[in-house]
């Protein structure tokens, strides 16, 4: 009833707590899901090598892929040493 009165007199905050819950859930899942298995990372690395190799010659040994965690985000960081850029795409 109090809630009803508050709403009637326009004292209810604009947003319900659902938005808070969704945002907190989003952040928590960004971190949880970033715990990718080494198998998945390896598969991603191999796919990246395949795609990038179409454009340039890369050092496959030195190719590193990892996830970098910030406080509210996770980034995919790839360090890809280039050996040669293919002439076909250089102009």
């Amino acid at each position: 009833m109090l809630d009803f009165l508050q709403r009637a007199f326009g004292r209810e905050p604009a947003l319900g707590t659902k938005q808070v819950a969704k945002e907190r859930l989003r952040l928590v899942l960004v971190h949880d899901r970033a715990g990718m298995s080494p198998k998945l990372i390896e598969a991603l690395r191999e796919d990246l090598i395949k795609v990038i190799s179409e454009y340039m010659e890369i050092d496959q040994e030195g190719f590193e892929v990892s996830l970098s965690h910030g406080s509210d985000s996770v980034a995919l960081v790839a360090n890809i040493p280039i050996l040669k850029i293919k002439r076909l795409f250089s102009d």
Partner: protein
């Protein structure tokens, strides 16, 4: 050959056992031959929810260790001829059964039943691994809370890693009036986040407490909204196309008043 379905959630207390009991009874109500398997060894509860706790002689560990035959351990339900329970052991721990034994047990059960419904323990350790070992399909139960959805997300990842593709979601204990006020995540929010198919939505309902007190699944109670939701879910599992029920049909006088006055969002 029947179908083996595991009911899981990650987080405890979201309604796995209640869901297992109601789906199993709901499928029996539709005329199917069903066996419920409680894999929560050491913390068995499905027997109590089904009202069968006084009939237990043998349990799942007696079966897997060869102390009794499978048929001896199956407890027949009070209400349905073709509904059975295989209870968990209460005095052993979760390592008393191995995933390989669970696979063999499920193979045996599905030869005799249309549906084998496995009640999974909370957590993602040995008990979880045992529970999913013999399953072909998975149902993930969650409630509209951050902790429950987070754990559901984790479990979905583990199910997919275990080749249990396309688990289906049941959202339990939703409170339409709170969703309406914007104080509870709604169905679409959770489907978006978890990115899996929806099997059903069960509203918060006091009938569940009452039916659990009695040991009679709410799915048999015509007056129960949660029971209606579980009847719908059972029909969907059996392959029927049943629309989601109208959650606001029973919102009460205050809800209707608010809407009349145009105050509800």
């Amino acid at each position: 050959m029947g179908e083996v379905i595991v009911v899981t959630s990650g987080k405890g207390g979201v309604g796995k056992t209640t869901t297992t009991a109601n789906i199993g009874t709901g499928l029996a109500l539709l005329g199917h031959k069903v066996v419920l398997v409680d894999t929560d060894i050491g913390l068995r509860n499905l027997d109590v929810v089904m009202g069968l706790e006084n009939r237990i002689v043998y349990d799942i560990v007696d079966v897997t260790s060869g102390s009794c035959r499978l048929k001896q351990a199956l407890i027949k339900d009070k209400r349905f001829e073709d509904l059975f329970l295989l209870p968990a052991a209460q005095t052993k721990d979760k390592t008393a059964v191995s995933p390989q034994q669970m696979v063999e047990l499920c193979q045996q059960l599905k030869a005799d039943f249309d549906y084998v419904i496995i009640d999974c323990p909370a957590g993602i350790e040995q008990g979880f691994k045992n529970a999913i070992a013999g399953a072909e399909k998975a149902i993930v139960v969650t409630t509209p809370e951050v902790a429950a959805v987070r754990d559901a997300d984790r479990v979905i990842g583990l199910l997919e890693a275990a080749e249990l593709r396309e688990p289906k979601l049941i959202i339990n204990r939703i409170r339409p009036s709170m969703v309406k006020k914007g104080d509870m995540m709604d169905i679409d929010d959770m489907i978006d986040i978890l990115a899996i198919g929806l099997l059903g939505v069960v509203p918060e309902d006091e009938h569940i407490v009452i039916s659990t007190n009695r040991g009679e699944p709410a799915v048999l109670d015509k007056a129960s909204r949660a029971g209606e939701a579980y009847r719908n879910i059972s029909r969907r599992i059996a392959g029927e196309d049943v629309p989601l029920m109208d959650l606001e049909a029973n919102e009460g006088l205050m809800g209707r008043l608010r809407r009349l006055m145009g105050l509800a969002r």
